[in-house]
Point group: none
Chain length 182, copies 4
Amino acid sequence: MAIDPDSVLKAAADVLSRNPTAHLDEIARAAGISRASLHRIFPGREALLQAVGMFALRRYGDALDAVRLEHGDTEQTLRRLVDRLVPDAALCAFLAGENQLYDDPELLALWDQQGDRVRAFFLRGQQEGRFRIELPAGWLAEAFFDLLAGVGWAIQDGRLAPRDSAHALIELFLGGAARRPD
Amino acid sequence: MAIDPDSVLKAAADVLSRNPTAHLDEIARAAGISRASLHRIFPGREALLQAVGMFALRRYGDALDAVRLEHGDTEQTLRRLVDRLVPDAALCAFLAGENQLYDDPELLALWDQQGDRVRAFFLRGQQEGRFRIELPAGWLAEAFFDLLAGVGWAIQDGRLAPRDSAHALIELFLGGAARRPD
Amino acid sequence: MAIDPDSVLKAAADVLSRNPTAHLDEIARAAGISRASLHRIFPGREALLQAVGMFALRRYGDALDAVRLEHGDTEQTLRRLVDRLVPDAALCAFLAGENQLYDDPELLALWDQQGDRVRAFFLRGQQEGRFRIELPAGWLAEAFFDLLAGVGWAIQDGRLAPRDSAHALIELFLGGAARRPD
Amino acid sequence: MAIDPDSVLKAAADVLSRNPTAHLDEIARAAGISRASLHRIFPGREALLQAVGMFALRRYGDALDAVRLEHGDTEQTLRRLVDRLVPDAALCAFLAGENQLYDDPELLALWDQQGDRVRAFFLRGQQEGRFRIELPAGWLAEAFFDLLAGVGWAIQDGRLAPRDSAHALIELFLGGAARRPD
DNA sequence: TATGAATGAGTCTTCATTCAT
DNA sequence: AATGAATGAAGACTCATTCAT
């Protein structure tokens, strides 16, 4: 029975987001295959990291597509996006933590592309009067991703219940921590 | 001339926050000393990581002390805290990225202690009616730290200007991204 | 369609004489079969090497038989032997290059046996006054084989035309490089 | 005390000429250093092979220089050359056996250069009436080297006494195996 | 029978670490 | 005290080998 590369990537992202220095041994075990097979599918550690990065970015992009980021009410879209992304928060944590991943030009290009989409989204929301214009759209995109990654780590470490995560995230991100004066 | 351990720690934190898997070689070079000297000061990689962690947590704790976290107006305190922490955001990025740092009991204890202080701070703010009570204080503390770490990474990568960071952070964290209906 | 073991052996000898460290992969490809099939025919690398060695030595022995080494005029016999062996020079190159082949007792025995026949041949030639007696017969046999192997390599590398090789070899070996004073 | 790279190269050539598939472990042990040190001096197996090749070719070239190949009586020069080269015959054996060494352009260039010198030498000898003109100078050079390599192997395997080697080689090469009719 | 797919075994390589100066 | 040089230890990698079809 053939090994499913995507399931290997998912396992790898899971392990690596927890511990970026994880041995290939551990990753292979998590994927339920041998180290040798891991090497056959992804020739070398670097290739594996790159593949996991591409996988994560693809999933991220898929989520942006799925919620039709470029259309519709921005706030509702953002809520749907969070619901969709939180289950993959570990992938975002991986993308956030593995900073030197972006030495790879292909990966960097895709990363920038998705980043641009999200920035454009927030910009549109600002123009439509849904998001505060005092905050740069780039920073909104950045912060949104930071919180997503943080949720990913918190879930993995058991500090946050997956169930509550999406709500907590969107509430804080949209409404802020300060209580509004009545 | 004797080597200053703190400058080594700072250099190490800088390198390691960018790349948690950085070799001792690179760290030693960043600190301007030889690998052998690095080894004499911190006997082993683990010891170095632990020392950097302690250093970062101490600085974090110092900031909490300096703004008198346990007293005074919580919102004003939070603003001062951000101003004080943003210059050290790289240290927070290090603390956030080096997840397996907390295998060390001593470090974990200190980490928990500072975390508790911040959670208690948010709880107090909630009780005083300054922070929203719908969001768990633990999540507020978590998210606050996530944003801080994200700012650290963004500054290091040149995606965010150090000058604007503190303002952007506090504005988003307190007020959220959504525009309040007039 | 059944695989012909001898064609595999020939391909293997060809590849291995060029590169004694060639992988089974390369050999299988040269033989036009899969690695797995190669393995079924020859159970293991060592077995393959042994088989190629036996094959080469058998061909060598066949040549000695064919020219009736033990009988007739030694010089004429040697000329016929060279004509007969040069087409198989690659096999000699293999036998010369794969030094550790002779760890196998069976192979070593056959190798010694053929070597003895050639040495005896030169000895006979010396006794009959055809070969110089100042040179040990063992050395003559050795040098003869060295030149044969050298020709094999030179042909494979395109440094020597197969057509001229036999003549050049026998002329040098019998007459030497020095011009005889008239 | 610093490791002498040349002594490592000599040990490596010795081991590798005997067994081209020798492990780095064995080579390091023969050189009296650790595998790690071997890797520090020559970064990787390929680099080591290349270095050994360059070393051997340099020694070969040094011998050509030392006997002033381009000047003086060719036969006497050849005799001196043999005396000089036989102690390094193992290096020649290495150069002859490691055929795929010449994938490296630098090595190939040096190899061709030394080959050209020897070919030119034989050509000169032919023009001066010392070597037979029926045999291509290129073949003389080739055969000369083959015998040298063969001597190297024979000595290593104990089939030939180092003491007698030079004499046997030069006598056969110059005079041939056939007894000259009185 | 023949092979693509998977893996065990063992080498290559690179660290972190130690030694000698 | 500080470092270049050397090495032990352990992970990365690549074979030869086996398995399932």
